[in-house]
């Protein structure tokens, strides 16, 4: 793997790390299986691209994209909380509607940003003047953005309000008994989650020079894989570490794809990419537990118990 490919994987992993945080917030904190992300990711890209092309300041455009994503999350939450539509279906409805909305926003399915000024431009100009190539500068920039987002999220989740949101996801009945307005928590949490997803879309559009409605396809799968990969590799009860694990999982997932792209020498064809990625991610999930086969055997029962606990939490 070349340096450019590696840093490219890190950069795209960081961008999707923001989405992993959104998915984490919905699935793990709120316990709300939310598929809106397949629509809110391209929504963020569409809004940011349209506004930038219209001459709006890229930072403002990015902020509006986050708000648009939050609005999408509110729609899903509204369908679920107000009308009692099952969360999965509510989010599917929002997701498929967003496909049309995104084309409406852009007026066409694909908007190019290759020659436009983005939030990265000043930074790239500055680092370029220092002699740093763009493929190094881009992941650094995205990394800084992700660090800020991580810090804010970790701070939020350990605040009183964040604790109330976690309680809502862990045990809504108990939360209500404690005087927590769980409906409002779902609204706020879903808005935040899809705000993150849209920020990911906005970053993707600006780092790669285009917004395309088809880019939402399968985002939820990538986000979930990142969250679970992170959880497996970096187990912790500390919130800050847990959210870092999400981003780390996302980067590892992208490195798996980069390795799979490099696997031609194994006789793999281009169409085997998804299979190779799946095998690598599976290995990443298996290997940390298999470091010592004897220990793994001895831990068999304990392992299944903790697995059962995780599954139980997810099923609540």
């Amino acid at each position: 793997m070349s340096l450019v490919a590696f840093l490219g994987a890190v950069e795209i992993g960081l961008v999707f790390g923001v989405i992993a945080l959104g998915v984490f917030l919905a699935f793990r904190i709120l316990n709300f299986p939310d598929l809106t992300v397949d629509g809110s990711f391209p929504l963020g890209a569409a809004v940011v691209a349209t506004l930038i092309v219209a001459g709006v300041n890229p930072w403002v455009a990015t902020a509006v994209a986050i708000l648009a994503g939050a609005a999408a999350g509110l729609v899903t939450a509204f369908l679920n909380v107000r009308f009692g539509i099952l969360h999965l279906l509510a989010s599917i409805l929002t997701m498929i509607a967003l496909f049309s909305v995104n084309i409406r926003i852009m007026g066409r399915p694909n908007t190019a940003l290759i020659n436009e000024e983005t939030i990265l431009t000043p930074f790239l100009d500055w680092t370029g003047a220092l002699g740093m190539p763009a493929f190094v500068a881009k992941p650094i920039f995205v990394g800084i953005v992700v660090l800020v987002v991580l810090a804010l999220l970790a701070r939020f989740l350990t605040s009183e309000y964040g604790l109330a949101m976690r309680a809502t996801g862990a045990n809504p009945r108990m939360a209500r008994a404690q005087g927590i307005d769980t409906d409002r928590q779902v609204y706020v949490g879903m808005a935040m989650s899809n705000g993150f997803n849209a920020l990911g879309g906005a970053l993707f559009a600006q780092t790669n020079g285009f917004a395309d409605v088809t880019s939402g396809l399968g985002t939820i799968v990538v986000g979930l894989a990142a969250v679970i990969l992170g959880e497996t590799i970096l187990r912790s009860r500390v919130m800050a570490v847990i959210v870092i694990a999400c981003v780390l999982g996302s980067i590892l997932y992208r490195i798996a794809i980069a390795l799979a792209l490099n696997a031609d020498f194994l006789g793999l064809k281009a169409s085997d990419l998804q299979l190779a990625t799946a095998v690598l991610v599976a290995l990443a999930l298996i290997l940390p537990n298999a470091r010592n086969p004897l220990k793994a055997l001895g831990r068999g029962r304990a392992g299944s118990r903790s697995g059962g606990k995780a599954a139980g939490k997810a099923a609540q």
Binding site: F135, G143, G209, F210, D264
Partner: protein
Amino acid sequence: MTVIARGAGALAAAALASATLVAGASSPAAAQDSTTIAITAIVEHPALDAARQGVIDVLTENGYTEGETLEIMFDTAQGNPATAAQIARQFVGEGPDIIVPISTPSAQAVVSATSDIPVVFTAVTDPLAAQLVSDMMAPGGNVTGVSDMSPLADHLDLIREVMPEAETIGVPYNPGEANAVVLLDRLEELAPGMGFEIVRVTASRTADVMGAAQSLVGRVDAIYVPTDNTIVSAFESVVGVGQDNDIPVFAGDTASVERGAIGAIGFDYYQVGRQTGQVVLDVLNGEDPGSIPVRFASGSELFVNPGAAEAMGVELPQDLVDRATQVIE
């Protein structure tokens, strides 16, 4: 500021260190005296695969031998633009002599990832709107290529010749496909001048194509299928509806005539690939990509299918059949 810079430096150092580790483990670089062409497409389907084959064939016919003096790298994004972005970085990192991206998102990903490796795109309908080039005649920079804009006026002429009385043409397309939307807009500009009215129906997935075609029954005199990846993938659905309801189906690409369209004028993607291959050759021979004008796919081959016409209730004029480059029986 210093804090940020220092933090960034540490991050870069960490990234570089781990990258070197990974890079050290990678396979050895290609032999120095061979030419490396990196090709990527957003998906694999017959038309795009044919385009890729066309590029490779032109190179092998001009003295390059695959595996010896020519190394071909090929990856598809399997429909996912995020993967396309990653493939672009992958290729830039390998430092091939030329990158050939097939389709709009793949081309955008590659062009935004490099400003020095020559890029020869193909199967992009509107390179200007995609911001791949800012001037079709003098692209500038490291990018040129071949646009697959269909000769739409010729297509409408063909429909007029087969069906002198036709007034409305139904056009199924995927609103999510940039190429198809460009074609639809151009069609609507052209149609009134030729006495046609265009009726749009959309299908976002191949499974929706049948329903979209059925919704045209009773509303249109003919159906025209543009070079839209989704609709072409499910072309048989449209043909079935045409046969059941006696609505003639025309196509934007000649390959679809074998699959049951009455006729088509135009290029097949293998020829588009060959045209692209010529541009690749020019660049390999030292021409500056920025000074090579973006070409339009050419080809005026007429394919007709009299059997399909009969099944859809029309008869092809004899001189049309006589004129055809290929008659599918």
